[in-house]
């Protein structure tokens, strides 16, 4: 290959640096919510940025680069889960259960909320973290993108490659599952609903 055929390195390289500085925290936060275990999240983050470097010619100010990065993260996470399933199938790796060890808050040695935040977080909050980590991958991806990152259904569908109605269904299933998991740590709304007072809450729900 002659040098003239190589992709222009300068501007694209600088764009990677700018993109990293702007979205490094977003990518890590999303990876943590998807992967659960800090070590898995760190591997995922590194893979994402290496993928970005390889495809740096696609970086553009005109595109929503955060959504692009989240798409890469979600797809790489899905691939990692698939590979892990294959390894388990051939008994090459032990199953990593989502239990207290993978609790994204309690077991985080670095990068998790600091000791102060941990102390402040209630048992219900930790239970929510555990329940979130226990959701099936697609439900968790949709839930995080909708409820935490605030993307619209259509955008999530585009990012994950699923129809909008599927996004809504996955979101509903995730919420139902979380509610079942968190029955003992129900938010105020659940307690209120069980007492027959939920109608008042609905008006402030949105």
């Amino acid at each position: 290959m002659t040098p003239s055929r190589r992709p222009s390195a300068g501007p694209a390289d600088a764009a990677v640096g700018r993109l990293y500085e702007k979205h490094k925290a977003d990518v890590y936060r999303f990876a943590r919510r998807l992967a659960g275990a800090p070590a898995d999240a760190e591997d995922l983050v590194q893979e994402v940025w290496m993928r970005v470097v390889r495809h740096r010619v696609e970086i553009s100010e005109e595109r929503d680069m955060k959504a692009w990065l989240f798409t890469i993260t979600a797809n790489l996470h899905r691939d990692a889960l698939r590979k892990a399933r294959v390894r388990r199938l051939f008994l090459l790796a032990p199953r990593r259960d989502a239990g207290p060890e993978s609790d994204v808050v309690a077991s985080a040695p670095d990068g998790a909320p600091g000791p102060g935040a941990l102390a402040e977080q209630s048992e219900a909050g930790r239970a929510l973290e555990r329940a979130l980590a226990g959701l099936p991958n697609r439900q968790r991806s949709v839930f995080v993108l909708k409820m935490i990152e605030g993307y619209k259904h259509e955008e999530i569908g585009g990012m994950l490659g699923v129809p909008v109605n599927t996004v809504k269904t996955l979101l509903f299933r995730a919420v139902q599952r979380l509610r079942r998991e968190l029955r003992d740590f129900g938010p105020e709304t659940w307690t209120a609903r069980e007492n027959g007072q939920c109608d008042a809450k609905i008006s402030g729900a949105f």
Binding site: D110, E188, C198
Partner: protein, 158 residues
């Protein structure tokens, strides 16, 4: 209004984010349907709880490691290099020999017996070319012969 429609409205409301809540007809349904009222309360309650969770900070060690990895990947040493001229010459000679020596023999459909030097050379060249075909993809990957980068913004593209 049916429960199925209400749940669609509730999720659409999450998208709209107007804060106004569902319309009057939906509110009427929610006032008597416990299931849908529960769904509405679940959506809002869980959303608020999740948004209140502490946001994990990027660990400094991971930040430094990733930054180093990016710099290394962008360094000139990591850039794809063209195939060395010597390797290109070897490939060209092998191709020419195949055409000049092997092709007429194969075309003729005969290999002299007992094996002559010419037939042995032809067989050796065939084997060599076979091996080269096998390792050529590795060489091209190693030396970075690139095709046009695949777009990765499609969900199935990664």
């Amino acid at each position: 209004m049916r429960c199925k429609n209400i749940r669609r409205i509730l999720t659409d409301e999450l998208d709209a984010g107007t804060g106004g809540g569902p319309d009057a007809e939906a509110r009427r349904h929610l006032s008597f349907c416990r299931e849908c009222a529960a769904a509405a309360a679940d959506l809002a309650g869980i959303r608020d709880r999740v948004r209140a969770l502490p946001r994990p900070d990027l660990p400094a060690a991971l930040d430094a490691r990733t930054r180093r990895a990016i710099e290394a990947a962008l360094s000139p040493a990591a850039r794809p290099q063209p195939l060395p001229r010597g390797m290109v010459a070897v490939l060209a000679i092998l191709t020419a020999l195949t055409i000049v020596v092997v092709f007429p023999i194969v075309w003729g459909g005969e290999i002299a017996e007992p094996l002559t030097f010419r037939s042995a050379a032809a067989i050796a060249l065939l084997l060599q070319n076979g091996v080269m075909l096998l390792i050529a993809p590795i060489l091209f990957r190693r030396f970075g012969a690139r095709t046009a980068p695949r777009r990765i913004d499609s969900p199935g593209g990664l």
